[in-house]
Symmetry: C2
Subunit: 370 residues, 2 copies
C-alpha cells in the first residue's frame, strides 16, 4: 500500500483473499467480478499471488520454493475467463494446514492430500463438463482444450491429474478414445471411486494412454513448477506463465483449462480463452515482460547446508520483533523491496535496492516508514 | 462448509476476506460483485461477518464484545448498494494490530487509531461527495441521507464522527447550516487538518451544533453497539441492523450512508437505498427475523471475575491442541454450534445444541468430523 500512497493514490479497493494455495484464484475471481460489476470505475485491477513454500526438516523440504505472480485485470484482455464453465468443489478436510501459529511450517498428511486433490479434480471436472455442455450443447472432453494447467506442488501429481481427466473421459464414453486405450482402461471401469484413487495399476495405465496428449497439452506448463518447486498460491499462475512463455505465438483462439486447488479444501476448474491482443497487452509482449529465461538464469545456487541455515534464521525470526536484517543485498535483483528492520513494536520497515530502470514515483532507494 | 456438504452442496465459491474490522465489508463487496458478474449462476450469496473483540487486561477490556451478522445477497433486494458513490481510503499504519501470533490480543495505539479513523472518514467522505456530485449534478451534504451508520468501537467515536461530517459540510459551505451554527464553527475554520483532529473545542462545538441531526440520523444505529460492545467486523452491520429494527416501517425510499473502518487501515463510505421489499424479503420481515429485543433480553449476566476467568481459559486454549470443552451447554441458545474437542493434530470438532425448530438437513444434534 505504501507504494500507492507515495503516488498520492489511497483510493484502492480490495483486501487479502486467504485460503492456502487457492488464495490467488479467489483474488483473481474477486477482481474480475469487480471489473464486471456496476461499481467498477474504469481503473485496472491488480492481483498479486505470493507465497513461500517452506517445510520442516524431512522429505517434503526439498519440494519447497517461493514466487510472486502479478496480474493486471481489465476489459478487452488477451486472456479472458470463460465465466460460464466454472466448476467448483469445496470440502472441510485436514489434509495440509498450519495449526501452530508460532511456526511457518505446515502439518501435512501427504496421502490424504493427494486423494483430496484427485477427488476435487474429479468433482470440478464433472461440474465444468456439465456447465460446458449446458451452454454449448455438446459434450466436453480433454480434446476441447489446447492446454491444461494444474496447481503443481510436484510434477508427479500433475501427471496423475491429467491421466485422471483422461480416465474420466473414458468413463464418460468420449469418442476420441480409441479401441487400444479403451482396452487398457476397461479392467478399471468397475473400481469404486476410492479404489480408483488408490490403484497404482490404473495410475500407470492411464498415464500411459494419456502420454501423447500430456506431452502436447500439459508439458508446456511444467517449466516453472519443475524449476522453482512448489510456490503454493503462485504455483498455478507460474505454470500458466510457462505456457505463455513457450507458446505465445500460437495461442490465438486457444482454450486453456486451469485447475486451482487449496488444501482445506477449496478447488475450481475454469478456463481462459486467449487472443493475440494489442500492444502493450499482447501475448508476445507479456512473454517479453515475463522474461522467464533471464529470471531462471539469474538464480544463484546455494548449498543444502546454507539453505538449512537460512531456514533456521527464518524460524527464529518468524513472528519475532526487534531485529535488523543483513545489509548484504548483493543477491537481490535491482528494484527489489526487502525488509530492513522489525522494531520493538513489531513494525516492519522496507527498503528498495537501486534500480536505474525504475519508473513511477520512486526516486532511488526508498525507506517506507509505517 | 460442513453444513453445506451434509446437504450435498460442495459447489460453493468464495473464501475468507481478511482485514481487521473491514473484512465483512470486503466480503459484502465481493459477494455483490459476484451477483453482478457474468459468472453468477442465479444462486444467493451469503456473507458472514464475525469476530470476538477481546483485549488484554487494561482500560480497553470492558469495551470488548462479540457478534456474528449474516447477510443474504441476491437481486431485487430491499437493501441495495448505490454502487457509484463509493469512497475508499487505504493507508499503511500501525494503529491497531495483532503482531503476536500466539495471542488473540491486539496491540493498540488508541490515540493514533482515533486520528486515523477520523482522517479516513474525511477522505472517504470527500470522495463519496465528489462521486455523488459527479453522477447527480448537485452537492452532497448530510441532509441528503436519512441515516448514517459508522463502524462503532465505542459510542463516543460515533458522536465525533458525525460531528466531523457536519464540520466537513461547514467547510464545504453547505447551505443547510444556519448562521448560528456557522458562527460557532467559524473560529475553527483556519485550523490545519492535524490541529482539527486534536482540538477538543472543535469536537465540543461541532457535536453541539450537530446534536439535533445526530439524534435523528445516527442515534437509531447505536442500540446494538451500545448494548453489545465492540464487535470488530460485525460492528457496522450490527449498527445497521439496529436501524432496521427501529425504523423498518418508515425506511421505504430512504438512503443510509455506511462508514466501514478496519485498522491497518482500510476504509470505505458507501450507501444503501432501501425499499419495503416483498415477503419474505421485506424490511419488516427482516426486522422480525432479527428479533433483536428477544436476543438482547436472553443475554446472561456474569460477574467481572467470571469474565476474567473465562478470558484466562481462552488465552490458555488459543492455538492449543488436545483438549475437550465444557459439556455444560445450558447457556447456549437452541441451534447453536459449539466446539467440543480439539484433538492432538489440532483438528476441531463441533456439535449443535438441539433445536426443535431447526430446518434443513440437520436431524437433531450433529457431530461434524473433519
Amino acid at each position: 500500500m505504501q507504494i500507492f500512497e507515495e503516488c498520492g493514490n489511497t483510493d484502492v479497493e480490495g483486501v487479502d483473499s486467504t485460503n492456502a494455495c487457492y488464495g490467488g484464484t479467489a483474488a483473481l475471481f474477486n477482481c474480475v467480478n469487480w471489473v464486471e460489476s456496476s461499481c467498477w470505475d474504469g481503473r485496472y485491477g491488480l492481483v498479486v499471488c505470493t507465497d513461500s513454500a517452506v517445510y520442516a526438516e524431512g522429505p517434503a523440504r526439498p519440494t519447497g520454493g517461493a514466487a510472486a505472480i502479478a496480474m493486471l485485470i481489465g476489459p478487452n484482455a488477451p486472456i479472458s475467463l470463460e465465466s460460464k464453465y466454472r466448476g467448483t468443489h469445496m470440502s472441510h478436510v485436514y489434509d495440509f494446514y498450519k495449526p501452530n501459529l508460532a511456526s511457518e511450517y505446515p502439518v501435512v498428511d501427504g496421502k490424504l492430500s493427494q486423494t483430496c486433490y484427485l477427488m476435487a479434480l474429479d468433482s470440478c471436472y464433472n461440474r465444468f463438463c456439465s456447465k460446458f455442455e449446458k451452454f454449448e450443447g455438446r459434450m466436453f472432453s480433454i480434446v476441447e482444450a489446447d492446454y491444461f494447467v494444474f496447481h503443481s506442488p510436484y510434477n508427479k501429481l500433475v501427471q496423475k491429474s491429467f491421466a485422471r481427466l483422461y480416465f474420466n473421459d473414458f468413463k464418460r464414453n468420449c469418442s476420441f478414445i480409441g479401441k487400444e486405450a479403451r482396452d487398457k482402461l476397461e479392467p478399471f471401469s468397475t473400481l469404486s471411486g476410492d479404489e480408483s484413487y488408490q490403484s497404482r495399476d490404473l495410475e500407470k495405465a492411464s498415464q500411459m494412454v494419456a502420454k501423447h496428449l500430456y506431452d502436447k497439452k500439459v508439458q508446456p506448463s511444467t517449466l516453472l513448477p519443475k524449476q522453482v518447486g512448489n510456490m503454493y498460491t503462485a504455483s498455478l499462475y507460474a505454470a500458466f506463465a510457462s505456457v505463455i512463455h513457450k507458446k505465445h505465438n500460437i495461442l490465438d483462439g486457444q482454450r486453456v483449462v486451469m485447475f486451482s486447488y487449496g488444501s482445506g479444501l477449496t478447488s475450481t476448474m475454469f478456463s481462459f480463452k486467449l487472443n493475440d491482443g494489442q500492444h502493450p497487452f499482447s501475448l508476445s509482449n507479456i512473454a517479453n515482460v515475463l522474461d522467464i529465461p533471464r529470471k531462471l538464469e539469474s538464480r544463484y545456487e546455494v548449498s543444502p547446508e546454507k539453505f538449512v541455515e537460512t531456514l533456521k534464521l527464518m524460524e527464529h525470526r518468524y513472528g519475532a520483533k526487534d531485529f535488523l536484517t543483513s545489509k548484504d543485498t548483493a543477491l537481490l535483483s535491482p528494484g527489489t523491496f526487502y525488509l530492513t528492520h522489525v522494531d520493538s513494536m513489531y513494525r516492519r520497515y522496507y527498503a528498495r535496492k537501486v534500480d536505474d530502470g525504475a519508473v513511477g514515483c520512486a526516486n532511488g532507494p526508498q525507506v517506507n516508514g509505517h
